[in-house]
Point group: C2
Chain length 990, copies 2
Amino acid sequence: MFKAFVLPLLLLCSARLACAGANCGYQTCNLGDENSLNVHLVPHTHDDVGWLKTVDQYYYGANQKIVQAGVQYILDSVVSQLLLDPNRRFIYVEMAFFARWWLEQSDHVKSQVKMLVDEGRLEFILGGWCMNDEAATHYNAIIDQMTLGMTFLNRTFGPCARPRVAWQIDPFGHSREQASLFAQMGFDGLFFGRLDFEDKQLREKELKMEEIWRGSESLDSPNADLFTGVNENGYGPPSGFCFDTYCADEPIMDDNSLEEFNVKDKVNFFVDAARRQAKHFKTNHIMMTMGSDFQYENAIMWFKNLDKLIKYVNAAKKNVTVFYSTPSCYLYALNQADKEWTVKTDDFFPYAERPHSFWTGYFTSRPGLKAYTRESNKFLQVCNQVEASSYFKNHQNTLSRTSAALKAAMGVAQHHDAVSGTSKQHVANDYAKRLYIGRESCKSVISEVISGSASQLTFCDYLNVTLCNYTQNMQQFTVIAYNPIGREISRYLRIPVDGSASFDVVDMATGNSVASELVPVTEATTSVRRNRGNAASELLFLATEPALGYQQYKVTKRSVSTNFLKKNPISKTKGDITISNEFYKVVFDGNSGLMKTVVNSASQIETMISQQLLWYNASLGNSASNQQSGAYVFRPNSTNPFHISADGKAEVKLVQSDNPLVQEVYQKFSDWAYQVVRLYKGKKFVEVEWTVGPIPVDDKWGKEIISRYDTPMVTNGYVYTDANGREVLERKYNYRPTWNLNQSEPVAGNYYPVNSRIYIKDSKYQLTVLTDRSQGGASLKNGSLELMVHRRLLGEDGKGVGEPLNETGQFGDGLIVRGKHWLLLDTITSSQRQHRLLAEEIFMSPLVAFQNVTSDTNTMGSGSWLVAPLPDNVHLLTLATTPDGVLIRLEHQFTKSDDAELSKPVTVSLKNLFKNFQPTSVEELWLGANAKKDDVTRLQWKLSERTKRENRVYNFERPYYDVTNDFQTSLGDNFDVTLQPMQIRTFLMK
Amino acid sequence: MFKAFVLPLLLLCSARLACAGANCGYQTCNLGDENSLNVHLVPHTHDDVGWLKTVDQYYYGANQKIVQAGVQYILDSVVSQLLLDPNRRFIYVEMAFFARWWLEQSDHVKSQVKMLVDEGRLEFILGGWCMNDEAATHYNAIIDQMTLGMTFLNRTFGPCARPRVAWQIDPFGHSREQASLFAQMGFDGLFFGRLDFEDKQLREKELKMEEIWRGSESLDSPNADLFTGVNENGYGPPSGFCFDTYCADEPIMDDNSLEEFNVKDKVNFFVDAARRQAKHFKTNHIMMTMGSDFQYENAIMWFKNLDKLIKYVNAAKKNVTVFYSTPSCYLYALNQADKEWTVKTDDFFPYAERPHSFWTGYFTSRPGLKAYTRESNKFLQVCNQVEASSYFKNHQNTLSRTSAALKAAMGVAQHHDAVSGTSKQHVANDYAKRLYIGRESCKSVISEVISGSASQLTFCDYLNVTLCNYTQNMQQFTVIAYNPIGREISRYLRIPVDGSASFDVVDMATGNSVASELVPVTEATTSVRRNRGNAASELLFLATEPALGYQQYKVTKRSVSTNFLKKNPISKTKGDITISNEFYKVVFDGNSGLMKTVVNSASQIETMISQQLLWYNASLGNSASNQQSGAYVFRPNSTNPFHISADGKAEVKLVQSDNPLVQEVYQKFSDWAYQVVRLYKGKKFVEVEWTVGPIPVDDKWGKEIISRYDTPMVTNGYVYTDANGREVLERKYNYRPTWNLNQSEPVAGNYYPVNSRIYIKDSKYQLTVLTDRSQGGASLKNGSLELMVHRRLLGEDGKGVGEPLNETGQFGDGLIVRGKHWLLLDTITSSQRQHRLLAEEIFMSPLVAFQNVTSDTNTMGSGSWLVAPLPDNVHLLTLATTPDGVLIRLEHQFTKSDDAELSKPVTVSLKNLFKNFQPTSVEELWLGANAKKDDVTRLQWKLSERTKRENRVYNFERPYYDVTNDFQTSLGDNFDVTLQPMQIRTFLMK
């Protein structure tokens, strides 16, 4: 029996709910008829923030030759159609589009839209700047893009516009961390569209299309719990009921004098569809997503036919009640239903649409764009920080430029066809260009704050390939290294210089000389640079920056070359080759040239580790399936990867065994695949820098390049990958936690997204690889771990992008990509601590700029915005100005179980954290910064008895969720913020 | 110098103008800036009343797989967009769609639309039920379809909605009669889009894109004069400015922070386009047609971008002023300009889009549909007449069904892709089905009026192929012959009967026996009928019906066969064969079987006339052009047609030389091409009944079948063809009156539309052929005349219909079509009189129905609605009930020069015309019945001096047009209506 759905209006609009007026949010919901099957029709459009066309082209409806789609018209059209009938509802999702449209509207239209929003007729769902990808995105960027969109909504419309529901209908797999973040943003639920086809079949059968998703192993329930629903039809309407311009379904023709009168048929088909769908869900409510990609450009068509559908289905009295609704209202109806819900603790990766069709290629697609997006995040954080520091100093914004462009560009870049690498090439170029433009603004901001002049500092974007005309041609210059981390960091900097000279490096804060050495430019670097620069060496020195601040070094060229550069020129050697530092020794096989053994001297661990670059041949379809490898889908044609060199060996080109600061081995697998393996003095990791490309395709094989580490470790099929750079999930070969997998792709079907780290472990040791960008990763055999670093394809996977992922690059012959892996081999216990801290360092590495040596610069030396460094386990996730004050996010960057010491709760005082700034008020906000923590209470859900018995997924005793938790609720006078493991707390400081 | 465009508001809204309020019609016009080039932007949609989809499918937006188009959404969308901004304007054309949409609207929407109409923001242009074809349509049907649309508008919106401008933007060639009719409907101007490409080039050069078109040689100017403009771009926008869903032009992107900002480029391109166009026109006003087929389904796109275009072009101050306008306002601006205009007296046939691409195939395409449409017109007129007679009798409508469905079906069927034969097959089927449904209603109406019961009469639709189960199986039945003509008519009826019996026929009005005879069913008829009937004979007798009334005959089967049927069974003969009656003798060559000589015994004329069926092989493109023959385009692959039989002979199958009532020769050219040549006792014409099909295409040649008459007459390349069944135009081989023709297609480029008659003449004699439907006709050599009777094609002419014109018919092997030509050979003087009267008879032949013999029916006998017959030269064009009274149209069916006697003016008294009805008031209306004659004054135009000097095109002395004419203005007490030659007068009688 279903209980009555009487809506307790007064109760709902309690003081703790965000209610602008009497009727707002859930109060506007139609909950249908308790004795009937209730069908929530949700008119919606899915507007990709760039994909086949650029975001600008999509907005304006330009470049229609590629595809017909114009978001400006969608919003125009929907608003005018909503105004015609108060029963009609619509949801809008992507603020990158809405915010732009809003700016163009007249006051009259704005007031009409505000009315629609206040009355729940136009409802914002998700409300991020985009609907972000979940596989290749970093949590820092996810939070920023959600904040950008949701704070726009809050500032524009107030609390009535606050999105209650997250809406990830199109991303290709779903991350547990994303669920955790959404929960922390105050969302009451999440709906999505894509999941493994076997998973969906089972869920339909077991009525688990809707569950509680536990997003964190560290955060106490329900803080990271999120009600999560799978949409019956992805995000499209049931078959036969698509009434858009793009569809060919017959409209409802209700003039019964006409030949084609079809009301009776339409009603019957619809009722059948509703009943079929209802069999997969627990309550007498179901939701139908009435829309799709860029639909509602002519909203008349949809609404006119939905009006008729509602009218005729309800009139038919078939015990099916249909009405306009929204995901929030549907969620609320579920919440009001007297049901218990099961709990899910794993994630929805990888996504297989059908056998042989695993969407695991995009974990790596467009590695250049992925790295540029990751690096741009750092730019944005630095930009935000220096804006805040300027605000601290001046108590107002005095800067000539802002971070706004980069914020928006980063918001756009998180889209599920942007950083995912699944857009058309011209759109990928546009994403990069937007980031570039945003970074240029931020360079100006950073320069103005640090040097006092917006154009004073010089930034070199191509330091990674030893390209910087400025440093190469100056007799004397200064190097400014900005550290966005809340603790002191030392990092080796590599500055392109003229190889014939030698250099003095002086710490300008202390006046002390700093040890430096010259490192020759590798053949790989020359191959990447082509004719764009001729710096022969990199000047290497260890820069130490204060917490959240910068350090300046003066570099002076000397006329006489020193002997820092050992064993130059390059020579070929025989026999094993070893490099070592205080922590590690790495041995290379003199015959094969491949890594052979890694020794952790401190922990006294020695393991055979063979590492090599290999390639899979991209499938163009075979007898089992016509599925090709493409931007989305990874499908190798053979299970075993191929060697890059004909004989499977790397050619060892150089050993620098006795340089004081760095020891390097250069490996050349072919003229398109190089590596440098490095040990830096004092650094507890092995750096493996790979340079791959132009990937040759003359043999008509698309190629997917992996870096594979093979060890004798007994790993039993287990591998561990992070989710969006934060918590780590356990993966097992050919296994899914919630259903019996029928594995159709032994390679692609075992790939998982790696954002920052991947590791394998045996009973004692752990081999960890930290990445500098998102990549696909897997463990396909015992003791083995692989990361896909680059891919170039000739086929197309048929998912709509319509062009092969064939990045030809600036010179037309194929894109060359360079990146880094940091390799850790240590005990399991100490590995966690190391990878947490090193991941922060690789992610937030110092931002380097250059400046002329003048009397001014000589005095800059160093600076820090902090009174004292933050504890090691606290990550300063956000420090940014907003129109309302300064936004700060502090994060406990350890899980409950990472480290005996660092996993403990930690307290930071906001009162005395910053130089020049003592906040007078500190308000805690939800993670998206769009609502005060106190103003919003999330819906509570009842868990199933069965779930309660299963400790594995249910780790506390309370049978019901409640709003109490273990977290601090009052900060005290000093604004002392206590962080639990993995907790992120968001504050507005004034 | 341009004179000022100050709008004399008060003057315009004089008592003689139709002004609902102070601002209506031309008073709402923006006339721009007199010192600037003024660009009238005309947002419009062109909504085919069926073409690729049926009219219902187009209305609803169904069958989207064929093409995306939904008129309901266009009107929804346009209305909502017009409401947003009073500057926006839109025109709507096709009432078949608008009237349906209107019925579905709420009172609120209706009042909004009325406001838009009153304010000139939504303007109705043309206002017909459809935009009719001009080549294959009969004037009766044109007037009816225009009346249906325009009276809907008048009843719904009043005089403000009266269309001022005719809008024939898509039809494929333009008829002079159409211009004449439009002038008589009160239109001030006509704009169209398609004309011969050479014609257009010259007009652009000579600034003759706009002229005065003189539509009649009989009606005094300016009664049939019409200002006529050629649109610069057909009916599309200038290149680069199509902002519809269907277009790929870039929108105006005016956010200058965006990469793709294009305002400056768009403005420059537009100004250039406007200046280029202005070079082709006389004034500083030009019109741009901003729309196309089924555009504005999402009107937001168009209006939003046009708003911006207007804003930015005007702001650019480039001496180009852009504004929303309508064709009426553009016309009014031209009228206000101080310009003189040249006069055109010929027409715009044939239409060549480019060399080798003559749209002359559709003159014949779908001959079955063309005949069905023509015959349905008769059905409708009869239906209207009996409805009126019922109203006369009962002073109210007491009938259970009405003519409405057939009116609408006929309105739809006149569309330029309907009767033209240029729709897809499924749409052609739909047109026929609509006519069928309408006819079924009318059968009920006719039955109810004549027999007193809606189901009493039986109608046999297939009498032309001797199919009628009713007559074949009854021992006794009555035949009712209804004569829709206003004078007494005698016509031979042919009733399918059992061949083994003989029959008595009795005139039920007089009780007199009527001579009859049995005619055997031909092989051709058997081939058409297949298994659908087995009537062995036709019972032939002469039925004489009173003016505008019916006559009833009783037929009784006798058990013993008589000897009426001579020379049966069929036998083959040798030697010449002759048939004859009082007027004609026709001799056939016994060897070839072909017609050889025709003798007009009365006029003592004897001429060699060879007649045969031949075929052109349809081009599939050649080296000169890839143009194929298709539904629109006729392009034979060879200049000379081919014989149908292998030896070029027809096989003479039967001669019935001595039957009293009819003498027939059967010809068989092949098993898919037959003829019967007949002479009826007392009938002064030679009937040639052709039966063609299934046209074989096994040889991969599409075939276009002609009937050609070759004589020794010296005709000097001249041939005469009617326009829409009314006035006749002179055509000359490889010649156009207004430009030097570069003939690329010696056959197709000399084809002209024939609606009712075609003739050639030498110094003494005239050979006339009357047709029963529209056909293409030509004279390609001296003394020769040909009519295309059927076509079946395998290629496609690339004009959008997307399928070959390959009518496969009910049995799938090809459509068989039967039709009649009435051949006249006489002096020129007497031929005119004959073809005028016989054309009326062939067009309005008696409608035949059958009834059981009961006591009731025995007393019916005959009936006429008229007190006395109309004079021979008066055609009762319309007699129909309307909500306001009875509509009557009387037509003088002779031209000024047709006949010494019958061409004189003639007077008819409406007071005493009808039995049971003496009108109390009679108001003269414009031809479209949507306005009183007194309420509307047409715009006056100044003719050029050069035109005035050319008597050929200018036959009166007045330098200016004025509103006086030679026509009667007062009817007097008896409502005496005087008709001038070719004059049609329209009255509302109450």
